[in-house]
């Protein structure tokens, strides 16, 4: 998750640094002004929070962003912590947030490097079937098997 945030911020900076133009600067300013609801020329934490919450596809990503800013880990973002990264935050907002599918692609990329790799076997693994009886994953061999992970929440 941290990596995805890094990707997000670095990606945003890269975009501005490489392809920055007058038109993009206008868009950046417009978005900053949109977030600056009291129009005082700076973003309060509340304004920042409201704007980023509205843009981030999931709440976990907002938590990650706060974690990144909260350098002393005191569960609050001081003006110094916020101000010290103001440019990065402005650029992050200015470039909007990648669409959810772009996050999924990034997760997939990171995940593809994690074991089990494509081509790996699963090894000894025992869980339960829906009746509570033991289920050995070795018993799944012989057919293609689709596994879809999830829960009620």
């Amino acid at each position: 998750m941290i990596k995805s945030l890094k990707f997000l911020i670095v990606g945003s900076l890269f975009f501005v640094g490489t392809y920055g133009s007058a038109q993009e600067a206008d868009v950046a300013l417009a978005r900053f002004n949109e977030a600056d609801s009291d129009a005082n020329g700076s973003l309060s934490l509340l304004e920042f929070k409201s704007y980023v919450e509205a843009k981030l596809p999931t709440f976990e990503q907002f938590d990650l962003l706060v974690e990144r800013l909260d350098a002393d880990q005191d569960d609050a973002i001081s003006p110094e912590e916020f101000g010290g990264r103001r440019d990065a935050v402005k650029q992050l907002i200015a470039n909007s947030i990648p669409a959810p599918m772009e996050f999924v692609d990034e997760f997939n990329l990171q995940f593809s490097k994690r074991k089990p790799l494509v081509g790996d076997g699963i090894g000894d693994l025992v869980a339960f079937d829906e009746n509570g009886d033991e289920l050995d994953f070795a018993s799944l061999k012989g057919k293609y098997t689709v596994l879809n992970f999830g829960c009620l929440t």
Binding site: S50, E67, D120, G121, K143, V146, L147
Partner: protein
């Protein structure tokens, strides 16, 4: 997909693992395999799915063996080797993968061909009557063990979380949430007394308070969680803090009422298997959405929405994109969000069926 490929030597399984975001739709983390199997039975019934389920072990061996992707999707070949892996499974990618591996299907099953997901009747017990605590952000669950109770199920479950500072320095905020498990269909009996949490420590934890008592509630019965937030210092993260939870519940059918005391052992270390509560903004933001209609015309206009949240509300609720959230959109949204009690991941219930 299941219907399209089940006769082509492809077997499908849902893998039910730890609850990822407890509180959504009021679900709480099961304490043992029997309770997790109840979750599976509920999900199977609710989504009317024919796909068989695999129940992960309580320490999530299967999820961890597959790389720890809570919504992951995998295809194994007949030799049991991974041939496709996705951090976040989605139907389009899965179909594309199966078309590559097995071949295309001529007559694809349509969503309307599937049985309609079952929507549970809303409960008639009061909810939303106990104000929620504003909790610090980024709290993480503490490791917790329950002492098995041979006489009664854990109708209510204790969840304990700490701020990052608590884990880093031993000193921080400690949150105790007492949640009714909806699978037992019980409610608090407020006439019989308040929920009480007694904390016992042999000097290994310094607590701001050792006895926590739930709020006074006017209603005779309700299903709201009881929440407590105190300062705590863990001197030894391996020694347990003992919690005795006493409460009285009645079943919704009014066939029994019972007072129980159940014991938990809490450790000052994080347990990532216990998931994270949904961000407070989603649940609370939409909890009183109907009250925002200040002129009472049934619609919400942007000037009635909270400052700073306008784009979020409009983005989520304005289905016809006319910048006014009409009554039908509010009704639709509240239904989807379980009348404000939580976010429904499955929305109209068909997500899990593709």
């Amino acid at each position: 997909m299941y219907r399209d490929y089940r006769d082509k030597d492809v077997q499908f399984f849902y893998v039910y693992k730890a609850v990822e975001h407890p509180e959504i739709n009021n679900f709480v983390s099961p304490l043992d395999i029997e309770e997790r199997l109840k979750h599976i039975a509920h999900a199977k019934d609710r989504f009317q799915t024919e796909i068989p389920w695999i129940c992960d072990t309580m320490d999530n061996k299967v999820e961890n063996a597959f790389g720890g992707a809570p919504n992951g999707g995998f295809i194994l070949d007949p030799d049991g080797k991974v041939v496709r892996k996705r951090f976040w499974a989605n139907p389009q990618t899965l179909r594309s993968d199966l078309e590559e591996l097995i071949g295309k299907v001529e007559n694809i099953t349509k969503v309307e061909d599937l049985p309609t997901a079952f929507t549970p009747e809303p409960r008639k017990i009061a909810s939303g009557v106990v104000p929620r605590l504003q909790l610090p952000g980024r709290m993480r669950p503490l490791d917790i063990e329950h002492v098995p109770d041979d006489d009664n199920p854990f109708f209510a479950k204790l969840r304990v979380e700490g701020t990052p500072r608590l884990f880093n320095t031993g000193k921080g905020k400690l949150y105790f949430g007492v949640y009714l498990d909806p699978l037992y269909k019980v409610h608090w009996n407020n006439r019989a007394g308040k929920v009480k949490l007694e904390l016992k420590t042999e000097g290994n934890v310094i607590l701001e308070q050792q006895t926590l008592t739930g709020a006074e509630v006017k209603e005779d019965a309700d299903v709201d969680p009881r929440q407590f937030l105190i300062e705590a210092t863990f001197k030894d993260q391996s020694a347990p803090l003992i919690a005795l939870l006493t409460y009285t519940v009645c079943d919704d059918a009014e066939t029994f009422c019972i007072e129980v005391t159940q014991e938990y052992h809490i450790y000052g270390r994080s347990n990532t298997n216990l998931g994270t509560r949904p961000g407070i903004f989603l649940n609370e933001m939409f909890a009183n959405v109907r009250d925002m209609d200040t002129n009472g015309d049934g619609d919400l206009t942007t000037d009635e929405l909270p400052l700073g949240k306008v784009s979020m509300y409009v983005g989520h609720m304005d289905y016809n994109a006319n910048n006014v959230i009409e009554k039908s959109e509010i009704d639709r949204f509240c239904k989807m969000f379980n009348n404000g009690r939580g976010v429904s991941k499955f929305n109209d219930g068909r997500r899990g069926q593709e």
